[in-house]
Amino acid sequence: MAIRIFIDEQEVKAEPGESVLAVARRAGFDIPALCYHEAVDSIGACRLCLVEVLAGSRPGISTSCNMKVEDGLRIATDSPQIRRDRASNLELLLLRAPANPVLRDLAARWGVRPRLQPPPDAGIANCILCELCVRVCAALGHNALAAVGRGEKKRVGPAFGKPSEGCVGCGACLSVCPTRCIVMKETSAARTIWGQSFDFHRCRVCGQPVITERHRAFAIARCGLPEDYYDVCESCKQSQASQRFAGVVW
């Protein structure tokens, strides 16, 4: 590891190009961040991952998710100002998702209570406009979601507010959503998300849903997989493999 940084006086090693947040968490520091995911670029939206740069290119309070490590960087993860600013930003987020367990938990931890009026809603209850769904969907190659509008009118959703051709119903957006506010419904036959219904491709052994048909088609084409790749679910594949193993041994 080529770079040394100091977090709360503790020396931590890092590689060039790593984000300060990722390095800090790896070293065991607890810095909250709602809009961060290691698989996609950071945009510094939620403003919770604040740290104070004591020595570096840009001293002062800053977000750590989109800050790259530099040799000799010294940061503090806690200070009265950090606590004050983080609490303010948390209060603003809490106003968007007052009943959301994730935000309520954070609020309880730091003694934050909403004193202001809620802002205009973002179209989806509990959405904190972190754009993780947009970024992850793009990273996976579906590009089905967009950040729409700007300022207080900003929201996320499919282009034109209509079901997107790119959406494959994989549900990755929901799985990374920090407030789990994306609505996804499933029956045995299909999954509904972002205004579209996706039929399931079922396991030919047990009949359980394996993947949506659209996602299957995308994955097979994109990754050059064999046509029958998704015909058996993981669980049945395990059983089959286990039986073959038993057959070999016995």
Binding site: S62, T63, M67, D85, S88, R96, Q117, I128, G151, E152
Partner: protein
């Protein structure tokens, strides 16, 4: 237009031009800047043409349309050369008289001259008019002298001579001159231009880019617009010199989409420069090649911010990026990029042509040169003024601006746009320069200077800026997007009489977080208007909070309209009231139904008896 292969070619052509243009030749210059055009100046030109023809003067008097001349309040403006005589508020029906009396007859048309509203004195020569006398025009100097569509005009006035000098000096020396000149960015932040160029020059990479920021989003500011519309080549020449010094072969000019005329005029200038070989390969035989492309904005104030502008040029949403890395290291398409404001670029040819020492002698030690301000709002002489740095606010507002109209009292001047602050009467004598303004809680900004009088409510002004900024926020950061929404809401509470001490405490708390934790300068400077209002006009805010009173009589929830016994019963107000809230018989005292009144102020506007009172 010939193609200039060398400096010699250029100078030889210039000599030919000057030989055919006697310095004291007769000319009529009609201002065709956006302001005068809005007042109908475009209609003057065809009338002048036909009248000159009729008087057989067409061949001997040059007629030209020029860029913004600055004295917008008195437009349409017509300048008569060689005398330098200024006619104001000229209408098409005045033109025959001007031609007949002045141009043919040699008699001044007195009634069209500028007359000082206070002293009553009228002025013939533009340079004597107080509005112009106290100015020092460098960047705007040629706006009245050249037709922006004519490269010949620009060359005749010495255009592109600085570029040739720059090639002779070499990039290092050019950089030194600009550093020595003390030029600081005219777009808002006031960063040292020479230093900025140096950083980009030193950055690794050979595919550097220079960008001209013509996004000019500060409401109330129109300097950049007038420079591009009035003298586009001055900006191109500045960019060429800068690109040469930095080592960039590619340029962009980013013009906000609300300025279609600027896009058009610059486009023509670029085409003319290309034709003349002043843009393209091996310019003037120097070995240096440079060309540029014009980009239009889509309509977003935030795109005046460097990294958001870069995103916009890259075809993305105008969301700023965290710095570092700075554009000088990694900017447009990841290339080392230097961005400067229009006015900054336009200063560069002056510095190279006359030298850094000459430039330094203007202005103050740490703020050299001149600055263009758009002096607008509650002031008599609204328009564009260019003054040496260090001049006092008082001189600008009163000596140049002619003071407050209607005999009202000066209250504040707002500088720096939405990132700036309001300065009260007690600050009128401070020198206008970068660091002093920041120290006093305001900012130079791009040069918008909005004068406010006793009928302006500072709570309303703060709320206005918060509304503007929350609308323009890109929406990325919680602190900016939601923080500004809340601050606006709190100020609305104050304006509507619902404010309490708690409201003020919340404002101060939130403002601190928005300032400290927003990613870009839109958020971090958004609280400046609030802070300066709290600093200098706290009493006025407290009046709203404690007494539910708006001293300036602006905040609707806190004022009442009544009709006094001055009323003569003319029924005009009753007819015009949109809510039918006024009743009264003809020739009898009228009454406003307070339940229906929406405080629109129309009755106040239309009453000829001055019988409507606001409390």
């Amino acid at each position: 237009m010939p193609r200039f292969a060398s400096e010699k070619d250029l100078e030889s052509y210039r000599r030919t031009l000057l030989a055919s243009r006697a310095p004291d030749r007769r000319a009529v210059a009609v201002c065709a800047g956006t302001g005068c055009k809005a007042f109908g100046s475009a209609r003057l030109l065809p009338v002048f043409e036909s009248e000159l023809e009729k008087a057989s003067l067409k061949g001997s008097i040059e007629l030209r349309a020029t860029g913004c001349h600055g004295f917008c309040e008195r437009g349409p403006l017509v300048l008569i050369f060689p005398a330098g005589r200024l006619y104001t508020k000229v209408k098409p029906e005045d033109v025959p008289e001007i031609v007949r009396e002045d141009l043919a007859g040699g008699r001044v048309v007195e009634r069209l001259l500028y007359r000082d509203p206070v002293s009553g004195k009228s002025y013939e020569k533009e340079e004597d008019i107080p509005f112009y006398k106290h100015q020092q025009r460098l960047v705007l100097k040629n706006n009245g002298l050249l037709d922006p569509a004519s490269l010949d005009d620009y060359l005749a006035l010495g255009g592109y001579r600085a570029l040739a000098k720059a090639f002779a000096l070499g990039p290092e020396k050019v950089l030194d001159e600009v550093k020595k000149s003390g030029l600081r960015g005219r777009g808002g932040a006031g960063f040292w231009t020479g230093r900025k160029w140096e950083i980009c020059r030193a950055a690794p990479g050979r595919d550097k880019v220079v960008i001209c920021n013509a996004d000019e989003g500060d409401p109330g500011a129109f300097m950049d617009r007038s420079v591009i519309e009035g003298n586009p080549h001055s900006v191109l020449e500045g960019m060429l010199i800068g690109a040469f010094a930095i080592g960039a072969n590619t340029g962009c000019v980013y013009i906000r989409q609300e300025y279609p005329l600027a896009v058009e005029r610059l486009g023509r200038a670029v085409a003319a420069a290309r034709e003349a070989g002043l843009l393209g390969e091996n310019i003037l035989g120097s070995g240096f090649s440079f060309d540029l492309k014009i980009y239009r904005g889509g309509g977003a104030f935030v795109c005046g911010e460097e990294s958001a502008m870069i995103a916009s040029i890259e075809g993305r949403r105008g969301v700023p990026r965290r710095r570092p890395p700075y554009p000088a290291q990694s900017g447009l398409w990841g290339r080392p990029t230097n961005i400067n404001n229009v006015e900054t670029w336009a200063n560069v040819p002056w510095i190279i042509d006359r030298g850094a020492d000459w430039y330094r002698a203007i202005g103050t030690e740490h703020s050299t040169g001149t600055k263009i301000f758009s002096l607008v709002g509650k002031v008599n002489n609204t328009g564009l003024v260019e003054v040496p740095m260090g001049i006092s606010l008082r001189r600008i507002v009163f000596d140049i601006g002619g003071g407050i109209p209607g005999g009202k009292k000066f209250k504040a001047v707002q500088t720096g746009g939405p990132s700036g602050g309001c300065l009260p009467e007690s600050k009128l004598d401070i020198p206008v320069e970068f660091d002093t303004l920041v120290r006093e809680g305001a900012m130079m900004g791009s040069g918008g200077m909005i004068v406010m009088d006793e009928s302006t409510c500072m709570v309303d002004v703060a709320r206005y800026f918060l509304n503007f900024l929350k609308y323009e926020s890109c929406g990325n950061c919680t602190s900016c997007r939601d923080g500004l929404y809340q601050l606006h809401r709190l100020f609305s509470d104050i304006a509507e009489g619902r404010g309490t001490e708690q409201t003020l405490a919340l404002v101060e708390e939130l403002a601190a977080t928005v300032k400290a934790t927003s990613l870009c300068a839109l958020g971090s400077t958004a609280v400046n208007p609030v802070e300066s209002t709290l600093k200098y006009f706290r009493e006025e805010i407290l009046a709203h909070v404690r007494d539910r009173r708006c001293p300036a009589k602006v905040c609707k929830a806190l004022i009442t309209f009544t009709i006094t016994d001055q009323c003569n019963g003319c029924t005009l107000c009753a007819k015009r009231c949109p809510q039918q809230a006024i009743s009264g018989a003809v020739k009898k005292l009228h009454v406003i139904d307070q339940q229906k009144c929406i405080k629109c102020g129309i009755c106040l506007d239309v009453c000829k008896q001055d019988a409507v009172r606001v409390e």
